[in-house]
Symmetry: C2
């Protein structure tokens, strides 16, 4: 196939647009239908990062996108496309911008409906399925129209912060096409000016009149890049603020105005008291998910709530459609009356991390570990917590720097963090990914430790070995299905590659030594297996379990 | 919730129907939305087999279903459902009967559209997606109608030999429902009698008049349990027969009438000669996939072809709809004129496995390994071959006993075999699963070796360590994307659990020792890593690579 005079092919056009959008690394697994495209990827400035399987590529690209603003994964048809699907669904749920590029059988075979390998039923099936977990997509079957489709699909991804899908038949990767035109400056959809003005005026009136207002900072702030804007408003007006699990660390937690993490009945008492007794709550980009609301136990009087989300604002019992979160925050800031935080919070201390004195011979417990972890973490570390005891206990850790905390706090797919740490490490080479995971979650995607080693990512792993799915043991009557195979976790890295430092820890003294090594060995992957007493768990999970059992008992009562 | 007077709940009803259908083992991963159902599973005769992740559960259930007639996998909502999808798509493509049971958020939350964890977008999304990779399914939201839906969905699975989907909200697992009624005897859909008679008469006329007829036995024979019926016809009439990769070992290969495996231009010359010079080819349940046809290189004159598939028969250029494969074979057998195989094949020897004399100090090569493997395999072993060099070279292995060969020869999803070996081992405890896999494929799903150990399955693993995706290196210009992490494969089992025997083999002498140990240690998992010289591959893959490059060169010529 000859090349167009401009030298562009569909494959190189797509590569060019990904480069232009700032993508640096592309994650995936090769397969024959996508090799022609991968040849172009490897000849470009994009860095190819092969993972052990496609689901892991999706998780890695998700972790990368959360910090880098856009992630990309490349897979082959069918076996690759369907294997990555759960990661794409997770990115959809959590609003993470992710481009999935799938190879496909050559055009001629598609036209005849031939039974090509990796084809599960028909040639529309994969696109049909991806339409349900993406906000835009295209089958790039026509080199004439494909450049426009690529531009539209990538723009949708960046505007809506959700995954998109591009399917490229193997023979068209090298098909000539027009050269890329300068990208139009894409402004986000604007608010309706009159709606914005009316909405901001009402919100300001309520907030300025309130005696005890509080800001609840939600997950859309980091997703739409609005954390700093929100922080400016909060600091200027000196409002107290809380975060949710989903938005944890979006705003700094070692800050005088930070009152803590609000999670309904699961919050610390002081946080719950302040948020629920506020006479006006300004919720910025908050999602009312089951986990963020402590099982729908939040008590926020709707009449006193101003809830701004990405494209609408609700005040009391009425809604302003067409008001964008970014515009709302920007317009609200200048019309709010500054307050004196100290006057309303005379006894509110600056948060400090707890002091921890190790008892070297003492058996390590989960509670003590979390206290110790809090002082171990610093601004150069990005903590990733896996669903399970890790995400339950995470609210008690203080993270100073925004973006230093990553969790799938809504979709809660176990196995996410190990591959996501790969994406996080490559997106932020100056920082270290710290993975806090349970044994059950770790077993899901453990092989990606080998890719972290291969890419020389100096991640730190804390693997909680408690012999099974502890969160299920605590929240439901225990059953044999919660048992898992008993791996020697700390020996895995040496099998997967070279260069790791590994430890198996059972006492506080051993934990101290392991943590000291982790800080010394700054350029190596450090893998620490934590062994806890039978049935041990964090205070947070223990409390959650008690609440669940109380609820079940209440239901069972006649 | 009180129980119905009959004691049945939706969960126990479903368990009962699975037991009745002969399911013995259920594979899956627990999650809170499915624990109430799993409590009922573990209280029943069904044996719960937890896997490390959901994709692997799907593969295991697929391997189980191929031998046992029905497989079942249980997952939680969203994160579980989307993770298993590729295994379900594979079962759909390859016609394997698989029941997927997914938990779901409680009814009340569904009704209000609450943002529950694991929910990617809305409460119809998962069902919508599964509809595209299954032949039937139901959201069991109404205890009144759910029993009928369960019965219909399971019947569809068994009749169509393809996956089905059942979604059970967590609160309804314990909802009372009617007792199961005796299952109506389900006859497969019958052929149209007149069509059958006309079709069989024409087929018999052609076959009886032919001088050199040949039978091509396809993948639908084992899938619909028709291998023995076909074998009876073939033996009675003394017809020569060939198989395809997809149907390999469906009929015995150490049989005087077996002429070999036909794969178009990739066949052995004698097989190709006999099949392509036949004056009548009786194709029974053959799929014309790219791999089975050697890249669509089969040369079967359509005018001389009788092609019977599950629900229609094509003779020459006309088709008989409404003629079922089972009825066709049964009606054809008595009207065919017996022949004397020996008369038409005077020089056709009984197949013998090649004699192999090890040269102990010689470096092991792929070709020599496959020759040796052929004599290693016996009737007590079920060979699973992974896409890659393994499935390319497999046609050269002789398998005597039907069902002793398993491959995803059409869907070709790498990573299938390791978890599938779990299902195979549990479905056939009297036999040993022998897994032949490449390093790239093995890395996809390696953790399931731990479940094989936990379940005490005495599988034998041969892991081809050739440092990457060899088939891609051979079929396409090589690129850095074909490199993978360099694991110490033979050391993995000791990390995953106890009881394995492991070997790393580089010479023929070491292979002999490892194989001897594998035969001696009949009750242990034996894991053998095979190290080959750089770039080494089987004769079959070498030939395939040459054909591909010749085709590419021809296309590139001006």
């Amino acid at each position: 196939m000859t090349t167009a005079a401009n030298g562009f092919t569909l494959g190189s056009y797509l590569v060019h647009r990904l480069e232009e959008a700032g993508v640096g690394h592309v994650f995936g697994v090769p397969g024959d239908y996508v090799l022609d495209f991968l040849d172009l990827v490897t000849q470009s400035s994009l860095k190819w990062v092969g993972t052990c399987n496609e689901l892991n590529a999706g998780y890695a690209a998700d972790g990368y996108a959360r910090l880098h603003g856009l992630g990309a994964a490349v897979v082959t048809y069918g076996v690759g496309g369907f294997s990555i699907l759960n990661a794409v669904a997770g990115a959809y749920a959590e609003q993470v911008p992710l481009v999935v590029v799938s190879g496909a059988p050559p055009t001629l075979r598609r036209q005849t409906g031939a039974m090509m390998h990796h084809l599960a039923s028909d040639y529309l099936q994969q696109f049909d399925i991806f339409r349900k977990v993406t906000v835009d997509g295209a089958m790039l079957l026509n080199p004439q129209t494909a450049p426009d489709e690529i531009d539209r699909v990538l723009a949708s991804c960046l505007a809506q912060k959700r995954p998109v899908y591009l399917e490229l038949p193997m023979d068209l990767a090298q098909a000539p096409c027009r050269a890329p035109q300068p990208l139009a400056v894409r402004r986000p959809p604007a608010s309706i000016p009159e709606a914005l003005a009316e909405c901001v005026a009402e919100a300001a009136r309520r907030l300025n009149a309130a005696q005890h207002p509080v800001v609840l900072a939600g997950v859309e702030l980091p997703r739409f890049g609005l954390a700093e804007t929100a922080q400016r408003l909060i600091e200027k007006v000196e409002l107290p603020y809380a975060t949710t699990v989903g938005s944890k660390s979006a705003l700094p937690e070692l800050h005088p105005q930070f009152i803590g993490l609000y999670q309904g009945a699961l919050s610390r008492p002081a946080v719950r008291q302040e948020v629920e007794s506020a006479d006006c709550v300004l919720a910025l980009g908050v999602w009312m998910t089951d986990f963020d609301t402590g099982g729908f136990s939040v008590k926020l009087a709707p009449g006193q709530l101003i809830s701004a989300n990405s494209d609408s604002v609700r005040i009391g019992f009425h809604t302003y459609p067409g008001v964008r979160l970014a515009d709302f925050i920007a317009a609200l800031e200048p019309v709010l009356t500054p307050r004196a935080f100290a006057a309303s919070h005379p006894a509110h201390p600056m948060r400090m991390k707890d002091c921890f004195v190790a008892q070297p011979a003492a058996a390590l417990t989960v509670r003590r570990f979390f206290t110790r972890l809090d002082s171990f973490l610093d601004d150069s570390m990005i903590l990733l917590v896996e669903p399970g005891d890790a995400v339950c206990a995470a609210p008690d850790l203080y993270i100073e720097e925004p973006e230093n905390f990553i969790a799938q706090a809504y979709y809660l797919s176990i196995g996410y963090c190990t591959p996501a740490a790969l994406g996080v490490s490559l997106a932020r080479p100056g920082k270290r990914a710290v993975v806090l995971t349970g044994d059950g979650a770790f077993q899901m995607t453990a092989q990606e430790v080998s890719t972290l080693l291969r890419q020389e990512c100096p991640a730190i792993f804390f693997v909680i070995n408690n012999r099974g799915y502890m969160i299920e043991r605590k929240l439901h009557a225990d059953g044999p299905y919660n048992d898992i195979a008993d791996w020697q976790y700390h020996r895995l890295p040496e099998v997967f590659g070279a260069g790791a430092v590994t430890r198996r820890v059972t006492t506080e003294g051993e934990l101290e030594e392991a943590m000291a090594v982790a800080l010394t060995e700054r350029h190596r992957l450090v893998f620490i297996e934590l062994c806890f007493p039978e049935g041990d768990c964090s205070a947070a999970l223990g409390a959650l379990g008690e609440k669940f059992h109380a609820m079940s008992a209440a239901k069972a009562a006649p």
